[in-house]
């Protein structure tokens, strides 16, 4: 364009620049580590198992925090804006805090429906999907099913497979690496799972009471029978009347164990335990709930050891 006016030349230069910018993948896509944000620590642990040293993983919620009630602090935005992948629990568990974080992150990659938005619940087997009319007379129900599904090792494996596929799609060059990591994880998890099942075998069919409905997948997998809840309805604090009924039921059926998540007050569970001669056991629903629970395996190690101990003590 020898005769082009300066303004035209300038315009075409700008256009070419933006075209180049739009077509070439940013350098981050090609070389550097994938940065994965997860809603909870369990998903972070699974992502780390598959991603190994090719990814950096960080969780928004802490393991000892109630995942229903996380604060949407702006400090999380600083991390989310750089994330390549956001892995969420889904089933409306994070409905109270994650949507504003995603909206304000100004990160197109992790918007709902974008390739970097990964809903782990799509890969897991979901229990307690309500049928019939769903109202909040039932408390804070999750209309899409119980979101505490990661406490079943089979679901852990399924989610890991989903993560493997997602990571391979995002980093095709590392696909073999992720596949190896998955195979190794699968092998180790199956071994560990056999050990856990064997450990829990003597207690199969035992009846327990839990504070919140966090344990359906866990108790199904390990053959426990959850017969009651300290909460009268999900998300509703214990009421005197319900507690009295619960104590009556526990005495009648000889239920001795009350499982409590680390973020609930122990006053009511302790009172119930005193009345029924039972025992309160604080189980961790998530990785990182205690310092020693550093990965997905140690989560089950910890919970099963605690359960064994409590069952033996209340025999």
């Amino acid at each position: 364009m020898p005769n082009a006016k300066p303004i035209q030349r300038f315009t075409s230069f700008i256009a070419a620049f933006f075209l180049l910018f739009a077509l070439s993948p940013s350098p981050a896509d090609a070389e550097s580590k994938l940065f994965i944000m997860t809603a909870t620590t369990d998903l972070a642990a699974l992502a780390q198992e598959i991603g190994g040293d090719r990814v950096d993983v960080e969780s928004i919620a802490r393991g000892y925090q109630d995942p229903h009630f996380v604060e949407a602090k702006p400090s999380f935005l600083l991390k989310l804006r750089h994330a390549d992948l956001l892995i969420v629990v889904g089933l409306e568990l994070e409905i109270g805090w994650l949507p504003p974080l995603i909206n304000q992150s100004t990160n197109p990659k992790i918007q709902v429906g974008a390739p970097g938005y990964f809903d782990a619940s799509r890969f897991a087997r979901i229990l307690e999907i309500p049928t019939g009319v769903v109202t909040r007379a039932e408390g804070d129900v999750h209309p899409l099913g119980n979101p505490h599904y990661w406490l079943d090792p089979d679901n852990g494996l399924r989610i890991a497979k989903g993560i493997q596929n997602k990571l391979s799609e995002m980093r095709p060059n590392d696909a073999t690496y992720f596949a190896q990591r998955y195979d190794s994880f699968e092998q180790r998890l199956k071994q560990a799972e056999q050990k856990w099942v064997a450990q829990m075998k003597p207690y199969a069919g035992r009846k327990i009471v839990t504070y919140h409905r966090s344990w359906p997948n866990f108790s199904e997998h390990f053959g426990l029978d959850v017969v009651g809840y300290v909460e009268p309805r999900p998300g509703i604090p214990p009421s005197p009347q319900h507690t009295v009924e619960l104590i009556g039921m526990m005495k009648r059926d000889g239920v001795k164990l009350i499982v409590v998540e680390p973020y609930f007050d122990l006053k009511t569970p302790n009172a119930i335990a005193r009345d029924t001669g039972g025992q309160v056991v604080v189980l961790m629903p998530s990785v990182g709930g205690e310092k020693e629970i550093t990965d997905y395996f140690k989560l089950f190690d910890y919970d099963i050891a605690k359960l064994k101990q409590a069952f033996d003590a209340t025999r």
């Binding site: 700008i14 197109p108 974008a114 229990l127 049928t131």
Partner: protein, 469 residues
Amino acid sequence: MKRIAVLFVLVFCSAAANARQSPSDEPKPNAAATQSSISSPEEARMQALEDQVRILAEEVALLRGELRTLRDANSTEPPSGGRVLFASSHVEPSMLPPAPAPPRSASAAPDPPLPQAAQTQTFGGATSNAKLLNPDISLIGDFIGTAGHNPVSPSPSLQLHETEVGMQAIIDPYSRADVFLSFGETGVNVEEGYITFTSLPAGLLLRVGKMRAEFGKVNTIHNHALPYIDRPLVTNNLVGGEDGIDDAGFSLSRFLPAPKNWFLQGTAQVFRGDSDDVFTASRAQDLSVVGHIRAYRDLTESTNLDLGVSYARGYNNTGANSTTYNPSDFTTNLYAADATLRWKPLRRSIYHYFMFRTELIWSARDQLSASNRFQTQHAFGMYSSADYRLNRRWTLGGRFDRSGRATDANLTDTGFSGILTYWPSEFSQIRGQYRYGHLWDVSTNGFINANEFLFQVLFVMGAHGAHPF
């Protein structure tokens, strides 16, 4: 113009390139033989064994269903809502054959055609069919009762103060929209209605529509989300009362470079210039502008500090009534600073919480004096409030108010409030507030003491989206 067009095309191209997502779900057939059965004479063990066999049988059924899903689906990720399941996905033992065959090893040939029962299994949660593609709809009722003596700003004894209907949805891959309609005693008002573009380049966040301006803290918060029943005196005296600066326009915000661990965000907004009695646009060009800078830092895991400075400028209603003066001579400039300290221990986040917040607002309002001279009134107002969550259901709060009046800075109203809140659940709230005011009464030309008791019941229907932190 051409350049802008090119830019837009590029933005949409790059966004469209991100639109498709196709991960594959290929759960591995589970080697279901996790336990070997050892016969034992004890009844209990037999029972346990039976249970295990049942669980194994379920797993076999699940795996078959899974396999079927995989075969059926070409695109391997189940689209959201594509596979709707009304019944529980949990396969009841009764649905299974009474004596299931022992699970085969993983190396076996592909499964034969599947029994019907296995088809009920799917992964992922159910999706409520009725609300597919509908926005999240919520309704918040706000009932307020008032008893006591306040001749300066009397409130009705009983009123359904506001019914707020919220509709929120993702519009397309690049934007979402939030609309809040407020049905009051006198009519309907679009409290907010805006689209947010979430996928803009350069980290920009654009909102277009009517919205509460990013001026300080209280101005951005809906009535039902406030920690008190009323709004602070300074809001009423200097920032336009209950609705505050709430206007149609654009809002552009962006994260700003900041020192490590600091979050810094800048927001610039342009509005039509009509916001209750703060700003009045008598001509089309009388736009108002709002600027806000927010700095946030986590002090510890449970404690954080949130600071902000705001500026707002617009035309006021003085000039509109005057024949001798030009309306464009009369502006109102508002400056504000806000600080919030929050504490919420993560392990006990549902039981304990503390928040201290203060906002300082300076108003410079051009107007005509009693002798019809041009003057600028410099008024100052502030409030400080604190809330402490005593346990899961009770919160105790207090607020101190002090504010001059925008049109007469010499008249300073003072007040304080004590607030007690009770939550039967997350979705309803009962609140009482005692309010004392030392207020200037225009009719008597003197200060009066106002003592009032306010009572509020709030209830939430539907899925009300979370409010920004």
